[in-house]
């Protein structure tokens, strides 16, 4: 009985009709939060497919690191036309593979806290790293990185591991930017307040922070926008730090081996149009890369406005990240 049922199921699975692929297909390597049903992916696909006689095919890889790794493994025979979801931390390493092409997109529409003139990477959104806190558990959060480091050890925070997580690496760079060579000492002082260091943002946010395990977690300054706009609660807010906040820019690029570079370039150009960008604020919960004017949801006005955007040149990050990581490991394991 069971075996028969399973055989039927297998047969049904095997005989599912393959999608007819007559129009040209644009293959985009991306990561889960972009391609999810609630992410910007589906809406962007629909909008772009209306402008071209083509189909977008997302290949969803686990993280930006996996996108890079897949690209390397495939080399010049990559199926990808566009890679989307890399960020400033990994950008330079990806460029060094020599597998990417120039975009030729007009970057004058960009609205970023930093000047952007890169020939290969086109930004599609950006945000600041910040500590998000639970106002019910912590009515008066620290007002600066310094105050957080000096706070008594019973204030607990959750951070992510810089080896495995983008925000985790963001905090490493943030500390380094503010404290320079003293970053190691400062990490040692911060150590007592770190409840735990999770593998990914999701692990910490879901299992720990939303379970009330600690009043503060390393996240984005835009996180409260989702809670306010969709969950309809003001309970979770980002703490504004006097030293400024570290900036993250998410980028996409054209793959050199792509057989349809024109279509790929059209997509990168489309990325900076309103039809793409309007899905960023609430679906990716980041700032749009261009000025949306009135279309920017009102909750974004309620977010903290960092006085200073801290930012290392991607090349400096690539050169130094190993040293800075070892400095962190050393401080945290001593």
């Amino acid at each position: 009985m069971l075996i028969r049922a399973l055989t039927l199921l297998l047969l049904a699975l095997a005989s599912m009709p393959a999608n007819a692929q007559k129009v040209s297909t644009l293959t985009i390597y991306t990561h889960p939060s972009f391609a999810a049903e609630w992410g910007p992916g589906p809406a962007v696909k629909e909008a772009f497919e209306q402008t071209c006689n083509c189909q977008i095919n997302y290949v969803v890889l686990d993280s930006s690191g996996d996108i890079l790794q897949r690209l390397r493994l495939e080399g010049k025979s990559s199926q990808a036309d566009v890679v989307l979801g890399l960020d400033t931390g990994i950008m330079e390493t990806t460029r060094q593979t020599g597998l990417l092409a120039n975009h030729g997109t007009d970057l004058s529409r960009l609205n970023l806290p930093v000047k952007w003139q890169d020939k290969v990477f086109v930004p599609y959104d950006w945000g600041y790293f910040a500590f998000v806190y639970d106002t019910e558990q912590l009515p008066n959060p620290p007002e600066s990185l310094e105050a957080l480091i000096a706070a008594p050890d019973d204030l607990k925070i959750i951070i992510q591991d810089p080896r495995t997580s983008t925000p985790g690496l963001g905090l490493l760079l943030w500390m380094r930017h503010v404290y320079g060579d003293q970053a190691g000492e400062k990490w040692q002082q911060l150590k007592g307040k770190i409840l735990t260091t999770t593998k990914s943002w999701s692990d910490g946010y879901f299992s720990l922070f939303m379970n009330g395990e600690a009043p503060m977690i390393l996240s984005y300054s835009t996180s409260p926008a989702y809670h306010m706009a969709v969950d309809k609660t003001d309970r979770y807010q980002a703490a504004k730090f006097k030293e400024g906040h570290y900036l993250q820019v998410e980028v996409a690029a054209l793959v050199e081996s792509s057989k349809q570079k024109d279509l790929g370039r059209a997509f990168l150009d489309f990325m900076l149009s309103v039809d793409f960008q309007r899905h960023i604020p609430l679906k990716n919960v980041m700032y749009p890369a261009t000025d949306l004017g009135d279309e920017l949801p009102k909750v974004f006005d309620k977010l903290i406005q960092p006085t200073k955007a801290l930012y290392f040149d991607p090349k400096a990050v690539t050169d130094k990240r190993r040293d800075w990581l070892n400095e962190w490991l050393d401080a945290m394991t001593r």
């Binding site: 069971l2 049903e37 996996d66 495995t164 990914s200």
Partner: protein, 562 residues
């Protein structure tokens, strides 16, 4: 001129049919692992071995990994042994079947869901922590080595207990009857019946749990408190994804392979001797140990603690998931045709059921090839190779798979089939562990008799093995399917084509701040898994028709069997 009966050949009665399919599967696994490692070494030069003892960091990582795995194994077995013995002693009490299903569940839970439950109980704001601080005066802190070990015991002790229970229940009925007739007390019953029954299972089980804890990743990081708790798996991830140092990754992967592989080699060398006593059908019996009132109270109390340990995190997951459940099925206030959750459920089942079936078939073939001839190094290698999917770090395995299967990654249907195949492979070690004992339990006498009578090939399987294997097969099928259903790693490794499965949906919801929806998906996944385990348990229990009971020696002797 009488022709020997053997020549009127039964289907698949050639000895080759027992040997080659299993060998083929094993070599495929070895090729896969080598391809992954080879690709890493190809990218850079061969790693410098001396790095291992020169770098303080790498040294601490290796030592910590082994230490936490050792502690986790010791504690898991320490919990599992008494639980299995009590469950074997008390074959009939209300809720026993439900308890067994729950025990089967814990291993297949996606780690992020389980950790959320564990944190609700043992975390800073947890129920248990409040109790410990207020009533026991102890200051309990989850984050650190205790949290890691606690989580590993939660995942593995129920699995271990389940396998041990199967072992004890597989003890020859005649032996147990004699023990019951002699009125053996607990100690002697343990010496005469229980220990001989679990002894052959124990080395493999310990190796399995050790490998699982050794390669643990997200749990160690979430509950470990900081980078002082870093496993080799984390360091490999770091080398590959962060430092792009393929050489170091390969070096670490080899260390992991060597340590875990060595343990499996030892476990395989200890051998799994078939039992010597024929398992004949005998009248129902009840051992003296466990029947007195006092014994029952003690057993009940010990089991109660275990149930609390197992149940509290599950209750926490249940309570957390409940609020989002409504929204999951009634997105806009009314039932809409095909909510994403149901879609994902069907997709998951379409992957998991065939994957379970494949892994069970592969396990049978591998066990069959192990039963041919003398225990040569070749057959030992076959059985160790089956555990490779657990020992090779997923990132390395992913690279190997990618290189080997790349041309077939075209359409999404092929992608789904590939994911099914890999899920089957990942479930293989567990399924093998479930089937190994029962498959080997056919005693020598019966086998020789079968050989003389020419009961070979298909007939031997149908009339000798199947009645004995029906229940273990159902359990193995449940684990194989359950593991694939709860799997996130394989799909993430490959890039999911098209639409999400249940665990992928959960992670997507998390990534988009949909905390309530994710909690509901987690709960739904648990309910599906429970339903699945119950279904397979039902299928594994022979219908009580006269034709069946004569074939099945166990139905009579064990009124409420697992």
């Amino acid at each position: 001129m009488s022709t020997p009966i053997r020549h009127s050949a039964a289907p698949f009665s050639q000895p080759g049919w027992r040997l080659w399919p299993g060998l083929a599967i094993a070599s495929a696994l070895i090729v896969l692992a080598m391809a992954g490692l080879g690709a890493l070494v190809w990218e850079t030069s061969l790693p410098d071995m001396s790095q291992l003892w020169r770098s303080r960091y790498l040294r601490t990582v290796v030592i910590f990994t082994a230490w936490q795995a050792f502690l986790s194994v010791a504690l898991s077995l320490l919990v599992a042994l008494p639980v299995a013995r009590i469950l074997a002693r008390q074959p009939a009490f209300p809720g026993r079947a439900v308890l067994l299903r729950l025990m089967e569940l814990s291993l297949v839970l996606p780690s992020i869901v389980a950790v959320s439950g564990l944190v609700s109980v043992y975390g800073r704001q947890g129920w248990f922590t409040g109790f410990a601080n207020d009533w026991l005066g102890a200051s309990w802190n989850l984050y650190g080595i205790n949290g890691i070990v606690l989580a590993h015991v939660f995942f593995n002790a129920p699995l271990a207990a389940r396998i041990l229970l199967q072992g004890i229940e597989g003890a020859p009925a005649s032996q147990r009857r004699v023990a019951a007739q002699l009125g053996l007390g607990r100690w002697w019953y343990w010496r005469a019946v229980e220990w001989p029954a679990i002894k052959p299972v124990l080395p493999g089980l310990a190796a399995l749990v050790f490998t699982l804890c050794f390669t643990s990743f997200a749990i160690v990081m979430t509950l470990g408190g900081g980078p002082a708790a870093t496993t080799i798996e984390v360091a490999i991830y770091q080398s590959l994804r962060f430092e792009f140092d393929a050489g170091q990754a390969a070096l670490l992967a080899m260390v992991q392979l060597f340590i875990c592989g060595f343990l499996w080699w030892l476990a395989a060398r200890r051998g799994l001797t078939a039992s010597l006593l024929p398992d004949r059908r005998v009248a129902a019996h009840r051992s003296k140990a466990g029947s007195s009132v006092w014994a029952r109270i003690c057993d009940g109390a010990a089991l109660g603690l275990f149930v609390l340990f197992l149940l509290m995190p599950l209750i926490a997951i249940f309570l957390r998931g409940l609020p989002g459940m409504g929204a999951a099925f009634f997105p806009q206030g009314s039932f809409s045709g095909n909510p994403a959750l149901l879609d994902a459920t069907l997709r998951s089942l379409a992957i998991a059921l065939p994957a379970g079936l494949m892994s069970v078939s592969a396990a049978l073939l591998i066990l069959a090839s192990g039963s041919v001839g003398a225990k040569s190094a070749l057959t030992r290698l076959t059985s160790v190779a089956a555990y490779l999917p657990l020992m090779v770090p997923p990132l390395v395995l992913g690279t190997g798979l990618f290189l080997l299967f790349r041309p077939s990654l075209g359409s999404s249907n092929q992608g789904l089939i590939l994911v099914t195949l890999i899920n089957a492979m990942m479930a293989l070690p567990f399924v093998l562990q479930m089937l190994r004992g029962p498959m080997g339990s056919l005693d020598l006498g019966s086998r020789q008799q079968a050989d003389q009578l020419g009961v070979l090939g298909w007939y031997r399987w149908r009339w000798l093995h199947w009645p004995r294997l029906r229940r273990p097969l159902a359990l193995a099928m449940a684990y194989g399917t359950g593991l694939s259903l709860g799997d996130f790693g394989v799909i993430a490794l490959f890039g999911s084509p098209g639409h999400p499965t249940l665990p992928v949906l959960l992670y997507q919801q998390l990534g988009s701040y949909r905390i309530d929806a994710a909690a509901a998906t987690g709960l739904w996944l648990i309910l599906i898994l429970l339903a699945l385990f119950s279904l397979f348990n039902r299928l594994g229990t022979p219908a009580r028709k006269p034709g069946w009971t004569t074939n099945s020696p166990r139905t009579v002797t064990e009124p409420e069997h697992a």
